[in-house]
Amino acid sequence: MSSANPPLPTPTPNIFAALSAHLASKALCPSQAWLSSFLSTTRPSTPLPALQKTALFRFLATDITTTSQPLPTAVLPANVADGSINERMVRGSVVVQVLDIDDVGRSRWSQVEALEAAERGETNKGREIIRVVPNEDGNTADTTQGAQEKSSGPHKLLLQDAQGLKVYSFELHAVEGIGLSMSIGAKLRLRDVTVARGVVLLEPRSTEVLGGKVEAWDKKWRDGRKDTLKAKAGIRDGD
């Protein structure tokens, strides 16, 4: 029936265009090189919608500074981190990736404690070790400090655009999807975002979490989390 393996068809410009368009709809700008290497890993017979989904998923897992070819309007202005400017707006859509995240609503010491408690197995399941005594006024409302205290925020994130420019950002109003359980390397889409004193202000109206993760960065971040927090707080090890 079939002869010897037919040669791999070269991707038609149509597929390139279709994939680019799909990713562009999320303001993502993959480079030609990346698209080529992506397509070389897929079967030619895969239907287009599946290809598009896979392309999106894979692209979100990359370091966009190496895999993008962004338009000049799709990156942050060079002086975005300038602290002398009170306020300015960055028009249009810019995609950034998350390099670091911090919960600035809780002290670092309490975050270290929560991590250590989780390590010891004192999570919310079953019997909770109660670290707080009920309030003196007798109202024993929910005073149990679950060892795994949820990220209360607000959060401060370190972001990086496709050309490598880094900027700090702060969650002015809670954005769904932003939290300590978020992956490092996740992508955010910023639309007409306000920048105050060199810090990007994240709000639901301007910020969309696209998702994704860079596995290597995320693992490194999580493994070193406790030590980073301790260093920031000035906690010295040992008694």
Binding site: V104, W109, R127, P134, N135, A233, I235
Partner: protein, 545 residues
């Protein structure tokens, strides 16, 4: 009709296992155990055996909890030795009112073997674990003891499965305090003067640990210039009357309000019970059975000099069914006064204070909640929300008889209208530092033990006394607590209870209005005398190994 005094039987290892060097500690987990009657209980056992001969039925009336069930089986075993054909029944009762006792007598049940076996398992575990760990840790830590010159006075480092966690809590807290690192935080304060009233608005975020973020937010608030009122609300609010009194609660309150340690409080409570003034003081139940006639108990207190009038008021219409807690050990009711006694007739001041507390607590349970009105005003300033609130106490109710709880009106808020805008009189950023948690006090420790199931109401005080007695912990008075109320009522603690009111160190700019003098309460060892627990070197070594 006769009685026992706790467990009849004791257990120990046989022969060679009894001596410390007779085997390695872990062999004790499999070693055989004998059960025998301790010398001081022999007379009781003999009595039961003898009495059994003249009876045809044995009716067990021990407490209706697990331990009581097990003691029931011990009695049964002893009685059957005297009379093999004895029938055995068990009474189920949860208070000692006449009607209840009669009905319990008329509907006997059988001993619950499962509960009795559970206790037998507990006893065996305690023996095996206690003995093996005691030997192991004494032998292991002997060098440390000798190095500290304690080799003579401390011969045995005993391990108890309840003592150890109790000590563990103290050590754990000690290290948390020792390892604590204060961190700086920033918060935004807004104050507005209206109708001659200074209204303080609290930031909804509380405080942030990043100065730049706080500063940016603050700058934007200032840029917005005007604040706008988003909510004005007045709602009724109440402070709940206390729950019926349990042993644990009595110990905690004894420590906190009466400045007496838990063992002392329990001793006094037991004396009051044996003299017939209060009900059985070892109970976990915090709900009153419907069948109990509470009004008649209140009636008895009408003669009281200090609380008689309040009691009369309850009978004249102010009476309210007590709140029901979630615990019921089915064996005893909550602690309450049983008969009236004139305070001067009691033995000493401590007895008077404990008795007074129990009476007042009971009367408070039967009163109404205190009622008030809480008003809140919320504003939006820049991107941030702030809230001010005021409390008006309208009816004190139970607070009149229970001075141990505090609830006071704050300054009244001026009128605000939703949508109203104003330029805040003052808005500034303030820096603070987090403070370490306090070392554990006795009420804290009891609460932790209770929450984690360490010890029973009957034994908690003993475990605490033991770790003190064995010098695993020491106590010292805590620095005087200053409750700085008023305008700047926000103390930031890292999750710790508000008992420790000491202000964070280094309050930065903006510490306004208050004379610097009374702020720093740390150096001041006041007359409070709340004791806090510090582990000794030995205690730490035990926990850390």
């Amino acid at each position: 009709m006769t009685s026992v005094a706790g467990h009849l039987n004791s257990q120990d290892f046989e022969g060679a296992y009894k001596s410390w060097n007779g085997c390695s500690p872990d062999a004790l987990f499999e070693a055989p155990i004998t059960t025998y009657v301790e010398n001081d209980k022999k007379a009781i056992a003999t009595n039961i055996e003898t009495q059994a001969r003249y009876a045809s039925v044995l009716f067990i009336w021990t407490d209706c909890d697990r331990e009581g069930e097990h003691i029931g089986t011990e009695i049964r075993e002893t009685a059957l030795k005297g009379n093999r054909r004895l029938e055995v029944r068990r009474a189920r009762f949860s208070n000692i009112e006449r009607a209840h006792i009669l009905s319990a007598a008329q509907s006997p049940i059988h001993i619950d073997e499962n509960q009795a076996n559970a206790v037998a398992a507990r006893i065996e575990l305690d023996l095996r674990i206690g003995a093996s760990f005691t030997r192991m840790q004494t032998l292991t830590l002997r060098p440390l003891l000798e190095a500290h010159g304690m080799g003579e006075e401390v011969k045995v480092l005993s391990y108890g499965s309840c003592q150890f966690p109790t000590l563990g809590f103290v050590v754990e807290r000690y290290f948390r305090v020792k390892n604590f690192v204060p961190e700086a935080y920033w918060s935004i304060k807004v104050m507005h003067l209206k109708d001659d009233i200074r209204v303080n608005f609290t930031w909804s975020r509380g405080h942030l640990f990043d100065r730049l973020a706080a500063f940016i937010i603050f700058e934007r608030c200032l840029a917005a210039r005007l604040a706008r009122v988003t909510k004005v609300e007045t709602k009724p609010t109440s402070k709940w009357k206390p729950l019926p009194l349990t042993t644990v609660e009595l110990q905690k309150c004894g420590s906190r309000f009466l400045r007496m340690d838990s063992q002392r409080v329990m001793k006094i409570a037991e004396d009051l019970y044996t003299k017939g003034w209060i009900s059985y003081p070892r109970t976990e139940t915090d709900q009153f059975d419907e069948g109990i006639d509470l009004r008649s108990i209140v009636q008895k207190q009408v003669q009281g000099h200090a609380w008689g009038q309040f009691a009369q008021g309850l009978l004249d219409g102010g009476f309210n069914q007590p709140r029901a807690g979630r615990n019921n050990d089915k064996a005893h009711p909550p602690i309450h006064p049983v008969n009236f006694v004139d305070p001067p007739a009691l033995a000493n001041d401590e007895e008077r204070r404990v008795h007074e507390f129990i009476v007042r607590r009971f009367l408070a349970c039967c009163s109404q909640d205190a009622r008030g009105s809480k008003s809140t005003v919320s504003i939006v300033y820049g991107s941030e929300s702030f809230t001010a609130s005021g409390l008006q106490v309208l009816e004190r109710n139970y607070l009149d008889v229970y001075p141990y709880d505090k609830w006071t009106s704050t300054q009244q808020l001026p009128e605000f209208a939703v949508g109203e805008t104003f330029e805040p009189t003052e808005a500034f950023m303030r820096e603070g530092r987090t403070s370490p948690p306090g070392y554990l006090t006795e009420p804290d420790l009891i609460a932790l033990m209770d929450a984690n199931g360490i010890g029973t109401d009957a034994t908690m005080a003993e475990h605490i006394a033991k770790i003190k007695g064995r010098q695993y912990v020491s106590t010292r008075p805590r620095g005087r607590v200053v409750h700085a109320e008023g305008e700047d009522g926000d103390d930031v603690f890292d999750e710790e209870p508000p008992v420790r009111g000491a202000r964070g160190r280094g309050r930065g700019r903006g510490a306004r209005g208050r004379g610097g003098g009374d702020n720093n309460s740390r150096g001041n060892t006041g007359a409070d005398g709340v004791q806090e627990f510090i582990p000794t070197t030995l205690g730490v070594a035990l926990v850390q190994g």
